[in-house]
Symmetry: C2
Amino acid sequence: MWRVPVLDVCYSVSAGLERYAAMTVISERIDRCRICAIRHQAVCGALSDHEIQALSAVARQRVLKAGDVIQNAEDEVSSFANIVSGVVKLSKVLSDGRQQIVGLQFPPDFLGRAYRTRSPFYAEAATDVELCVFPKRSFEALMADQPELESRLFQNTLDELDAARDWMLLLGRKSAAEKVASFLALIARRKAPALCEHMPADTLLTITLPLTRAEIADYLGLTIETVSRQIGNLRAADILETGANRTITVLDYDGLAEAAQL
Amino acid sequence: MWRVPVLDVCYSVSAGLERYAAMTVISERIDRCRICAIRHQAVCGALSDHEIQALSAVARQRVLKAGDVIQNAEDEVSSFANIVSGVVKLSKVLSDGRQQIVGLQFPPDFLGRAYRTRSPFYAEAATDVELCVFPKRSFEALMADQPELESRLFQNTLDELDAARDWMLLLGRKSAAEKVASFLALIARRKAPALCEHMPADTLLTITLPLTRAEIADYLGLTIETVSRQIGNLRAADILETGANRTITVLDYDGLAEAAQL
DNA sequence: CGTTATGTTGATAGCCGTCAACATACGTGG
DNA sequence: CCACGTATGTTGACGGCTATCAACATAACG
């Protein structure tokens, strides 16, 4: 009655990872962080040029394809990572297969948890993903004599906690229509925060959803059929248009926000 | 159609607080932390005897009655606190009055948030509550030269994040019966963790629920009627008995855990 | 003892889940 | 480039779970 979670996906990244490592020469490594796209937003922004070289030396790029597993629930976790590009979903599963996505992580979010050795959830690449992976030990050593780094991680965690609690309100108290509108508004804001603040009358905001209908349903506590119908309703209300390839075009962000009860 | 949140409760604590302060003499203050019941579990456990005296000097005891407001959403927050006794509920409210409890805090949990000046939710005493309140500044100063203190706070936040995500699974994917059983199991575990681990055949575990039916409903994303009916079902299944004064007696904890899909 | 808050129980309705059939997109191999 | 099979998405019919409305019971409190 419930879709069984795909827990048997192999760690198919290792091949691609080794290829990358083989191509990488030492000099590139040391400089990699300096030219990193998320250098200043990510937690590593707390580090000086000197420190970041130390981190750079032990960092590994890891390229994942949509659907690749990052960690299984209860896995021993021996590394931390920054999301450089793509979207990662964190989910929990009941013994009978019912599933709930408990977090969506975007760049430059941090993956992995200080003070814990086991992951409390299952993590998977929702889209193609680039990670910047650090060995847990090296990172913790750096954290020990760089309190600012721990502070950044702490603040990141506080943001996640706020997001989780906002989502609890959605899961517990919003209708299916409000849930779907809330999700679409969330993705739209990620894509173009400025546009959503004040959207000129005849602007088109086209976004590609990072999740399938099944994943949206698992994020919102709904079924795929209900998600599909609610998106249909929003289309009928001229709030958005749908295209191929998981793209939607938001015609009326204010209408969307209103439908979401934001 | 939805119960309107009680946001107009006055800060009726101040009277009680001032009375307490008047009774307190300096010598008591300095020693108060040393004899504190939650001294070693709370975040202050990170501090040396010397440091804790400094904290002790600026700490204030605050006694609240059930229903007293601790902070309104969007309030400027100028203090931190430890919960010494009682239960505090954190909740979020939609513009039309729909309400969701996003956190239940027990001793020795910490209230208040580093790196933020405004509360993202509404906090209220669910039962009579004793708080140990610190001015934000003093506490932050102590945090600045005691990294261990920040680490403790960080770990506390990580635990809250885990709890929030567990609750997301409940809100999004569990049935009403499972939700109510999960809540009762949660409270039972708080009250007597050891008993719940392994419960001898003819043991009675009696607990007083810290929440009214309306609050339980707001915690579980249900209505009061549904909560009442589900408790009735558990009684009919001989899993528990109900008494006056919000007490319930768990007859079969394993049955409760099973009904909760734990 | 009266009044109000809280909790219980029943009848009914509606939202959303379930089941089913179909449509479309995607990827692979010819 | 096209054919095929699979994954994903849509739409309809129906039913069940839980919200709603209502009446009543019990507890709490002055």
